[in-house]
């Protein structure tokens, strides 16, 4: 009977599915027979060939999962997901995670390549002395623009803060919705330190922003790159990574680091507290972090991701095309004018008051 055949085929399909599940789930589930490391990363944020190379060198298989934002990462770990060994939070998230006791300390004696980290990244304010995390990739907060509007890259804060110049983009300018970032940009434009606690300087920065307020379309940290793509915004203050993402969709979009200086940010390799509590997992995690920071591997990652590596000895392994791209690797005089946003304690109130005035007027 034909119907029997159909049932048979159906059962066969189900059987095949279960078999597939069994085979597929096998290697991932049975961590005893084989050494496995769970790496929780941003998507497309590593050269995939490094997984094979690491396996060859150490016998450890790396299983990568991906998240889409720092907040997702935090939510996932806080909702009780255990088992991730190495994670890649950005700087401010590292700060939060240290406060929440979610990260293990980094045993520097096991990271043979720790001396390769550029001194300007070796003591980040969110994790002094790299006690918990090793910097992985870094970028800046600068200006996103469209080549249709420019013959030369707008590599100066004056295009945003000088009223005559900003008027060219009236109603099409956006700034990050972040008091430290945006006031920090104005402070750098004025030649001050973005971490200043001097009320007079902050006041001055506030007035700079108020003067161009009529031209500002929005204070936006979430969707400015989409608005830049659609043409609704012409000139945006934003994070380099976001602009490079937009660039993937439209080659006319580009990014410039202002020559007056800018704020820098960094994504970090950290070991979760639950991996830190298990010596075998902790050992594997250290090996993986050390491996990723070998100059050759760090260079390979930069070639794949197009983000700058904080490893100063990786330069010979990086494609010349990337080294020449000033939006990723700024010239030395600009590089020396990149600032961390440091914790400033009570002075944050001065920033917040100025910010309230700016956004409410």
């Amino acid at each position: 009977m034909k119907i029997r055949h159909l049932v048979f085929v159906g059962l066969l399909l189900v059987g095949a599915a279960v078999l597939l599940a069994a085979c597929g789930g096998g290697p991932a589930a049975s961590g005893d027979s084989e050494e496995v490391l769970y790496f929780y990363n941003w998507s497309e944020y590593i050269e995939p060939e490094l997984f094979d190379k690491f396996k060859e060198e150490t016998g450890i298989s790396v299983i990568e999962d991906t998240f889409s934002s720092n907040e997702d990462l935090l939510a996932k770990l806080q909702s009780g997901a255990e088992g991730y060994d190495v994670i890649v939070p950005s700087d401010y998230m590292v700060d939060q995670m240290i406060d929440l006791d979610m990260l293990a300390e980094l045993d520097h004696s096991k990271i043979t390549s720790i001396g390769d980290i550029d001194p300007s990244f070796a003591d980040p304010p969110f994790d002094p002395g790299m006690a918990h995390c090793l910097p992985y990739m870094w970028g800046t907060t600068g200006i996103g623009f469209n080549w249709n509007d420019w013959d030369e890259a707008p590599d100066s804060w004056s295009y945003l803060f000088e009223p005559d110049l900003a008027a060219n983009f009236a109603g099409r300018i956006s700034f990050l919705d972040d008091s430290r970032e945006t006031l920090g940009a104005a402070l750098i434009y004025l030649g001050y330190d973005p971490n200043t606690t001097d009320a007079a300087q902050i006041e001055e920065a506030k007035n700079v922003i108020l003067a161009i307020k009529p031209y500002i379309a929005a204070f936006d940290s979430d969707s400015y790159e989409d608005n830049l793509l659609s043409g609704e915004f012409g000139l945006v203050h934003g994070w380099s990574g976001d602009i490079f993402t937009a660039q993937l969709e439209d080659e006319n979009i580009d990014y410039a680091i202002p020559r007056e200086g800018a704020v820098k940010w960094v994504d970090n390799l950290c070991i979760t507290a639950d991996a830190g509590a298990d010596p075998a997992r902790y050992e594997r995690a250290l090996k993986w972090i050390d491996f990723l920071n070998q100059p050759e591997n760090a260079g390979a990652n930069t070639n794949f991701v197009w983000y700058a590596t904080p490893n100063m000895n990786a330069t010979p392994y990086i494609d010349q095309e990337i080294l020449d791209y000033e939006a990723v690797y700024p010239p030395e005089e600009v590089f020396n004018k990149l600032y961390w946003l440091e914790p400033i304690g009570d002075a944050l109130e001065i920033y917040d008051r100025a910010w309230t005035e700016i956004t409410s007027q």
């Binding site: 597929g24 299983i63 889409s68 909702s79 997901a81 088992g83 993402t245 080659e251």
Partner: protein
Amino acid sequence: MVAPGKQATLSRAERLPGVPAIRIGNVVLSAYSLLFYLFIYGPILILIVYSFNGSRFPTRWAGFSLEWYHKLFQNRAMGQALRNSLIVSSSSTAISTVIGTMVSVAIERYRFRGRTPLDAMLFLPIIIPDIAMAIMLVAFFGLIHMSLGFVTIIISHVAFNISFVAIVVRSRMTTIDPTLEEAANDLYANEWQAFWRITFPLLLPGILGGALLAFTLSLDDYVITFFTSGPGSTTLPLRIYGMVKTGITPEVNAISTLMMAASLMLVILSLWIQGKGDAMG
């Protein structure tokens, strides 16, 4: 573009007095339908076309190319995510189809204590918002100290799929005449034989329909999967969503096109099977 058609209708209207309102109505209706289908299928068409684009920019057409399909087959992370998705969907479909079918047979054919509450509760997973269900499941897994991963995702998917399978199977069940089973019993078939020889073959199209629905729902679930996934179990939707932050490439178009082709084939297969089933029934 509209003008010639309109004239044509009007000239016909002159020949047929009394009808023009309907004729114009027809034109409007076809135009509306056309727009409607364009609205629904336009984006899908664009997605498919751009999976063959030589350029990585969706703003520019750079000629036909299979580059993104080639890249897709070399992208191990994407392959792993697809495999994870297939593992989750096929196992949760298999389990929920069996349980869902048993539940609907039980509710339709037998009277037992707790039947009415069970009947009512069956709809719960369909009505509850995904996010609420996700939080409940995570809290539950935390409570029983179950580490998150494939098993928890599959359990969660089974939890919502049972309802969908049961509803589809029950609607088929109501069309089956219970006297057929009674006749089988009269002819000395025990309940087991009566089920496999009579009920099951008649029920098969419904079961397959329910299974296909469950498979699809499981394959593209994001919210519940996000909360219940653990190390090593990133599914395709999680992976693609993750790419939003670091750049979506036409590889996503390519994999979507392939998945659409696969599901189209599944639908055709199920229609064909259902046709066979009906012909035999």
